[in-house]
Symmetry: C2
Subunit: 204 residues, 2 copies
């Protein structure tokens, strides 16, 4: 199981953004749409063993959108239709428990701290990784299926970093240059695909 | 110098597509927009040593759009504004010589055969790679700065494959699973970034 947690520090929690100007009206939900594409989209299908959690911090009550590969439908690779799916999820009345929007997409109120606690309880054996430029190169670090936490274009706050440190997350990086979160997810997926083949979990 | 050539078999050569439905009205120009993002976008800037050539086959007279990193301006990471730049280029009267649209973006009439001939003449020392599932793994192949040719969601035609074979292109692949062209470009860029650091051409 691969779980990607992406924190959108400005990302809107309201459906009142324009699909005609996603970057300008949604607090950069476009970044999160590209992360969804990177996490799930294969040449001929969807990665079923992936989950994505988006933490939307750009509203008075933060929200979490969860996408589950094994149930996901209606996902196209382009940004706009993905943003339309998120818009639909954000239009739902959200409280502390996940409610289903479209197949495989769920939404609730919540923040990073609560999400990490819940994920660690649900998946106690999965390692937790935090993507950061100073981290160990993922090729050397020997990464495994696990929970991967990434920031958006703003990086993580000090508070979030302290939280991740408290969870004993392992710092990893994806190479010599600093890349956007969606590009990092492609590189992690590829590394894990290679690992799966090596360990015989997946046919090439 | 890294050159990415992406063939859009259905991609429109006309500016008459809708930014409100890029996948449905432009012959999947959305794929090419994502390739542009993958080729150029860094966390804090643009890759200046990259060129992208899009071969648009979805019109009576095929067109080529060239994007040059060292002169490129107005490029944002989202699909829609990239598509708007391509729309602008396609609105220009194009003949056999490149005309400039916006800074770093040029358009002309032409096809893959002519483009490859021109690129090989201009860059006789750059190796030519063709991305294909059956190719050698790029990590083992020891790839270098060069010309990388990729197909869109339809793959290459037999004619194009024969052409690439005639150019003595090297077949490479990016890992165990079949990925979209834009995801492949991320993986090639990362591999080349690592090579540059190893050979001391670039500071980490």
């Amino acid at each position: 199981m691969r779980i990607f947690v992406v924190v959108g520090h400005l990302a809107t929690t309201s459906p009142d953004f324009s699909l005609e100007d996603i970057p300008g009206t949604s607090g950069r939900l476009d970044i999160l749409c590209r992360c969804i594409n990177s996490a799930f989209v294969l040449s001929h299908g969807i990665r079923r063993d992936v989950q994505v959690y988006l933490v939307l911090c750009g509203g008075p009550a933060q929200k979490i959108i969860c996408l589950q590969g094994d149930r996901l439908r209606h996902l196209n690779p382009d940004e706009r239709t993905t943003a339309a799916l998120l818009k639909k999820a954000l239009a739902l009345e959200a409280d502390r428990k996940f409610v289903r929007s479209t197949p495989g997409i769920f939404v609730r109120q919540g923040d990073l701290a609560g999400l990490l606690a819940a994920l660690r309880e649900e998946h106690p054996k999965l390692p937790l990784y935090y993507l950061k430029e100073e981290g160990a190169d993922q090729r050397q670090a020997g990464i495994e299926e696990g929970i991967y936490v990434l920031g958006d274009h703003q990086g993580m706050t000090e508070e979030e970093e302290a939280l991740l440190e408290g969870c004993k997350s392992q710092l990893i990086s994806i190479g010599p240059l600093s890349l956007h979160a969606d590009h990092c997810i492609i590189l992690i997926n590829n590394e894990l695909d290679r690992m799966s083949v090596e360990t015989g979990k997946q046919e090439p």
